[in-house]
Amino acid sequence: MNIHLGEPVAGDRVVRVKNLNVSFVGPAGRSHHVVKNVSFDLHRGQCLALVGESGSGKSVTARSILGLSGETAVVEADALELDGESLLGRSDSWWRRIRGSRIGYVLQDALVSLDPLRPVGKEIAEPLRLHRRGTRATREAQVLELLERVGVPSPGLRARQRSGELSGGLRQRALIASAIALDPGIVIADEPTTALDVTVQAQVLDVLKEMLEAGTSVIVISHDLAVVAKLADHILVMQDGQIVESGRAEDVLRRPRHPYTQQLVDAVPSEHTKGTRLSLDGPARTRELFPGTRDHTADDGPLLEAHHVVKSFRGPDKVQRTAVDDVSFRLDRRETLGIVGESGSGKSTLARIALALETPDSGRVEFLGRPWTAAPPREQRAVRRRISVVQQDPLSSFDPRWRVSRILVDAIRLGDPVNAHRAEERALELLGAVRLGEQHLDALPLRMSGGQRQRVAIARAIATDPDVIVLDEAVSALDVSVQAQILDLLADLQDQLGVSYLFISHDLGVIHHVSDRVIVMQDGHAVEQGPADQIFSDPQHPYTQKLLESLPRLEYATLREAVSR
């Protein structure tokens, strides 16, 4: 399959890939074919995006251009060229000359892509040293220059620090600085904005944009269509190692032809998707789970109410820091209260207080008008089953020895000490409700996919027939289509069970999609609070405004929606 990418934006072709195939030889000699007949060209100053979900072969494709697809990888291609030179069958020393100097690579997850034991300056200087550019002194100067170029404030200080001492955005920028140290003609950025707060994300995207404008060719790998939309000239959509769709960015995003692309585009939650389904899943059937146990519409008044909650912690350096400072909120029945904020804003602490896992230093939380955080442990336990939780990393919330059935039965019997046989049946019903089957009963969560685990976590959360579920970054680690399925499932559950959500996320799109009302948090303060639509359309607080400005929006998707629906 040879896909024409349209007109080159400028200049000539720098990378040519024709029928690239990559397989990995497994331990038993079995071959695993992960990149299938991929072809594309990259031209000078062009930004090419590889889009797809985890495991679709994006990164392996990109790494093949650096000869780093892996020790056990078998790389075959009709053509694999860099500036007209073939990249096939090259020696290790040849590759070493190419890497860093002609192709820069920005790995995903800057947290672990910089050596945590070495100062950032050394890491950035490393390509210079390896390719014998300048002396130690000139390299030091150059590092500062590079840091400045990628917009790192006080570069002198930062160069001496280690990656662990830097924030995520600074780390990501340092990583980019290292990749562009030798002014390579091509930069490959693998998920450059994943796990970054939205304001930081915007800064990083700006750096990449500047590079493009300066004539560098960029290959950006991302599952985030909004990011891609902001940068890419051309998009390749990959699924299971194959390119399923390609073309100019605008065309692909606006008029996705392949069902997979359409599904991807639809799955992105935003202000426009509110009330719609993101996935192709039909509605979950959960209504019959708790037939007539409780009429959720009966009692009025707030379910959960926090009054002037303050909580501070002593850090490892023995310094007191206020994590949550005078936050109040109320959560009503069938309502979703979104709490949004960047990392360190105190969202998770607030969640733990809402779960009465932490006791606030001052202020209180009430459940159905009765003391909750201040109640004695015995009374708290009686309430706990009515307030469930789904965490970001479901795996760590499961006892590693327990299989799904035991996890569920444990929760079921806590809510309703039924006999063992009945509990098993209930477990199966719960699994059905979260769209898992009987075959998962005996599975260990470790062996399940991220989406499946999150479904198990949700099944456990609803097992006790709760009134409130606290969702702490519950969908943040999931691929967009899986996220879509989970969000749909959550919507169904709320719809059918009348449960309320305290939904915590750093993702503005997700928050907007799910929330009735939103609290925006910054440095422990609730800076703004109100109905979701109002906050998103007319933010009052400067911080909220800044957040929303930074948010890359999927403008093309909006267009598509307007056209097709």
């Binding site: 690579y105 034991l117 890491e123 490393e126 290292s178 990749a179 490892p316 350096d317 820091r321 998770s348």
Partner: protein
């Protein structure tokens, strides 16, 4: 890695100004706590030693008389009385303990009641050879570990299993057995090393190897695990995308990470090396604390045993402090948490 990632998001980098002062205060406080707990450990070990030796069967005065006269007979009260008086063996345990501890507090380790020599002198004579042995063994173990790890870890399956097998086998070797075999083969048969080497450098080689090989196997296991893990870390790939070669990646990036668990083990390793030294010194007839200790325990020579115990536990405390420092030197991430 968990160490890094647990750094709570609540801890934002504090302004530089007051950090230095605060850190100094925190450090002083921590140093104080460390010192106190060290003193406690010293007191504890000295006390345990006293108690064990006190309840150790065998009458001290009898042992003293018998060792002096080369007999193995029970002694009559008439014979024992003067000895008991001389050494205070007939005092109550509390009195003996207070006397003993009072002396320790003054830094007086007392005298061996067998030879009448000050314990400080005895230890002073013997500590050198044992330390040379233990530290040389630790050094050699590290050299072996690093070389072996660089050579075999993170490689193809065959080399990897060879490397790991080598470690597993050597880690399980009984030292005294290795020592005997080395002594017979390399000293007695081949004559490459002296049979009774004493503390001479050539006589130190075989004992050091004997101690180092099993330790290297053990450190190697820990290092390899971490090496295999670290070499799969993204920062390694990151370094390679900059054009770094395989060897340099291992040396500059991976090895440093791989050393961390081994360094933690090194503090503990000194303890086992001292244990091992007891056996190895016996095999090689090498002077050192080991032989003195075994004899002193055999003769219930409290002053000598407790002197060695206090010394070794002081060493333990110091070594662990050193390990903490080295640890931080290798892993600067922990600097903030100190």
């Amino acid at each position: 890695m968990s160490v890094v990632q647990t750094s709570s998001p609540l801890v934002s980098p504090a302004p530089a100004g007051d950090t230095a002062g605060r850190r100094a205060r925190v450090l002083t406080r921590l140093a104080g706590i460390k010192l106190l707990s060290s003193l406690f450990v010293l007191w504890g070990t000295a006390t345990v030693t006293f108690v064990v030796l006190a309840i150790l069967p065998g009458d001290r005065a009898t042992i003293l008389l018998n060792v002096r006269s080369g007999l193995t007979v029970p002694r009559s009260p008439a014979e024992l009385a003067p000895v008991n008086r001389e050494f205070g063996f007939d005092d109550s345990f509390v009195t003996q303990y207070l006397t003993y501890f009072g002396r320790l507090l003054h830094g007086d380790l007392g005298q061996s009641y067998q030879s009448g020599r000050p314990v400080a002198t005895i230890i002073g004579e013997q500590i050198g050879p044992t330390f040379v042995l233990a530290f040389a063994a630790l050094l050699l173990a590290w050299v072996l570990t690093i070389a072996w790890t660089l050579l075999t870890a993170g490689r193809g399956p065959r080399l990897r299993s060879l490397g790991s097998a080598g470690e597993t086998v050597t880690a399980g070797l009984p030292q005294y057995w290795v020592g005997i075999l080395l002594l017979i083969v390399f000293a007695a048969q081949l004559g490459w090393f002296p049979v009774i080497g004493g503390t001479s450098p050539s006589g130190t080689i075989l004992p050091v190897i004997t101690l180092a090989v099993p330790l290297a196997g053990f450190l190697g296991q820990a290092t390899r695990t971490e090496f295999d893990r670290a070499i799969r870390e993204p920062f390694v790939l990151s370094a390679r995308t900059r054009g770094m070669g395989d060897l340099e990646v291992r040396w500059r990036h991976v090895l440093r990470h791989a050393l961390i668990p081994g360094i933690t083990l090194s503090g503990w390793a000194i303890g086992t090396l001292l244990s091992g030294a007891v056996l190895v010194e016996t095999v090689f007839a090498r002077p050192g604390l080991g032989a003195v200790l075994v004899t002193a325990v055999g003769q219930k020579d409290l002053a000598v045993v407790s002197g060695i115990v206090v010394l070794v536990s002081a060493l333990y405390v110091v070594i662990n402090l050193v390990v903490d420092v080295v640890y931080v030197a290798v892993d600067p991430r922990l600097r903030g948490s100190l």
